[in-house]
Amino acid sequence: MIFLIWLLYIPALYLVYGLRLALAGMGIYLHTFPTMLLHGAVFVGVYYLIKYLKKLLKVKPRIPANAGKRDKTISVYGLVTVGFTAMTALQGYGMLSRSMQGYLVPICAYVVLALSLNLVVGISGELSLGHAGFMGVGAFAGIVAATCAQNAVSDPFLRLVIGMVAGGLMAGVAGLIVGIPVLRLRGDYLAIVTLAFGEILRSLTENLYVGLDRAGLHMSMSNGGVQLQEGGKMIISGALGATGIKPISTFVAGILLVFFTVAVVLNLVHSREGRAIKAVRDNRIAAESVGINATTFKLKAFVISAVLAGMAGALFGLNLGSVQASKFSYTTSIDILVYVVLGGMGNMLGSIISTVVLYLIPEFLRSLADYRMIMYAIVLIVVMLCTWSPKIKNTISLFTYTMRTYWNRLFRKKGGSGK
């Protein structure tokens, strides 16, 4: 109980400050004492809300042992296809607002990031807080590669692919270098060290100067270290980041990358390697007792995840006119982690849905101005309750199970068992 309250503390703070701002919008200004009262009221409110929900769910729902055990592979591919079709259709009819069109590619990039992080957090079972670092490496490597290929390759889509491959490779190398020392650690220590390495990767790119001229690529870690010939062009200039990029990312390319990622992750999970990775997560000693080298498989998962994150980074970077390294700081890592955690560890379908929803909520709520934070807080509270409480979780799965049974009864001849 106390734990739940504690868990809800951050969303509750959002709520308090959101309310305060909202009241201020109506001309009511709260000062310290009323704010404290508000704090208390919100906490008491949350407490009773949970108590009420608990009472409501006192009846323990009974779920057949094998319910929900279906392979979700098809649903994942299906969801991506449906999303793509719907968006292209809306775009075709001109029903998509300009800002919404702008969100499509970043959403694809974040979906890929969430899926790849889920490979580390959900499947491999290690908390990684430096995912944005790999995204950054991928973004800048992709930008450099795409700019270099500008003259040789005229087709922008092909150039984007080159950028993504380069981004993936560089991020993979970074993942390998980071992974070898980091994966010797376990649990909290690993999380802290990945956070540090993510920041190291970011600050490295923040101090990187890359220029291109007729002689080739020039690289330096200090301003003025890059001396370009006439007609040369700076691609990355330190903290200012990469500017003057030609945006070549498209929604189609994004969706293709999502498909690629889904295929890689799901095929991996259902293969010999994936089973070994899950085995190491569940019990390291037992995994070694059946001939699995734990470190190797942890590293494999980590590097694959970094490669995918790098590709997503390239997609993200080549979507914008300019990119700064500060975009890839740990706040972005935490954002991605929130998508993964709220979508469910190891649940790829959940990752996709939660990424789309959680990315869009703040954007949609822009029009609400001050109320935006309240809404975001409420969504976080509801989702946390749903994912944390086993009872609510059970109720939801009971609900979906019942729905599926009815669906089967209605539309399939041999129905009724949910399988």
Binding site: A65, N267, A279, E288, S289, V290, I292
Partner: protein
């Protein structure tokens, strides 16, 4: 071969070998094995040789160092002294996963299953080293992937059926009852295709009828797979019933070795278990 057999012949007194195995190469030899933890000598001069199809037991009072010996044999701990030879090859310095690949499999005293995976997947993880499907062919779902998966599925189901677990194949291992989990652990160990199987207290927490079933099962495993079995057990009924040779340890040292009959009447064993008779 010759080098190895010389080693064994030099020390015939180690042997737990049955008569019919005496001319065969032992699958497992522990040669003067010992380990210290800091200043504490947990195991010292531990010598055994186990024949290819022998069922042997390791008994001793609580804290005698039995599980430590298992950890030494499987490479979890590196011995301070002595060596472990599996099929004649020294396992010194090998990673535990490599030692397993040499042909030794084990179960654990406190069950260690992959709780979030189905029973079938647990067994398939056990078959890891025998599934030959490259990383890229499984990512690209080439025909070789489907072929190896189908073969693995079939073999896993065979093993589950053998252990009487076929009907729980798709249930998550963590939600299985205790006794079933124990059997699943044996199935997983068998999936590694071992030459010798180490069982760490397989009958712990079982009632007499379950233990009787297990006794028969252990014999069936030996007869079907033609492998050696080495087990730690506190249930003397099981040990005396199933084992052909027994080693008794106390304070990390072997105090007696022999057939069940010899062990039953050994004064050192009786003393270790029941204490010394007070002189009056």
């Amino acid at each position: 071969m010759s080098d190895y057999s010389k080693k064994i012949l030099r020390v015939p007194s180690y042997s737990l070998l049955r008569e019919q195995d005496a001319d065969k190469q032992p699958v497992l030899v522990a040669n003067n094995l010992g380990i210290d933890f800091g200043g504490l000598t947990a195991v010292d001069s531990f010598n055994v040789a186990i024949g290819p199809t022998e069922i042997s037991g390791l008994i001793g009072p609580n804290g005698a160092g039995k599980t430590t010996i298992f950890n030494l044999l499987t490479g979890v701990y590196q011995p301070t002294r002595g060596a472990v030879l599996i099929k004649g090859i020294d396992t010194k310095g090998m990673h535990p996963s490599k030692v397993t690949r040499m042909g030794i499999a084990r179960t654990f005293q406190n069950i260690r299953l992959f709780t979030d995976m189905t029973a079938k997947d647990n067994v398939k993880v056990g078959m890891h080293k025998d599934i030959h499907c490259s990383f890229f062919s499984s990512l690209l779902r080439l025909p070789s992937y489907y072929k190896s998966e189908r073969a693995a599925d079939e073999k896993a189901m065979e093993l589950l059926e053998f252990m009487g677990l076929a009907d729980v194949a798709d249930v998550k291992a963590g939600s299985l009852p205790y006794g079933v989990q124990r059997r699943l652990e044996i199935a997983r160990a068998l999936a590694t295709n071992p030459a010798i199987l180490l069982l760490d207290e397989p009958a712990a927490g079982m009632n007499p009828s379950e233990t009787a079933e297990l006794t028969a099962q252990i014999r069936r495993i030996r007869d079907t797979f033609q492998i050696a079995i080495f087990l730690i057990e506190h249930d003397m009924n099981l040990v005396m019933n199933v084992c052909e040779a027994i080693a008794v340890v106390n304070y990390g040292k072997i105090i007696a070795k022999g057939t069940p009959e010899e062990i039953k009447n050994d004064p050192a064993v009786i003393e270790a278990y029941l204490g010394k008779k007070e002189e009056s």
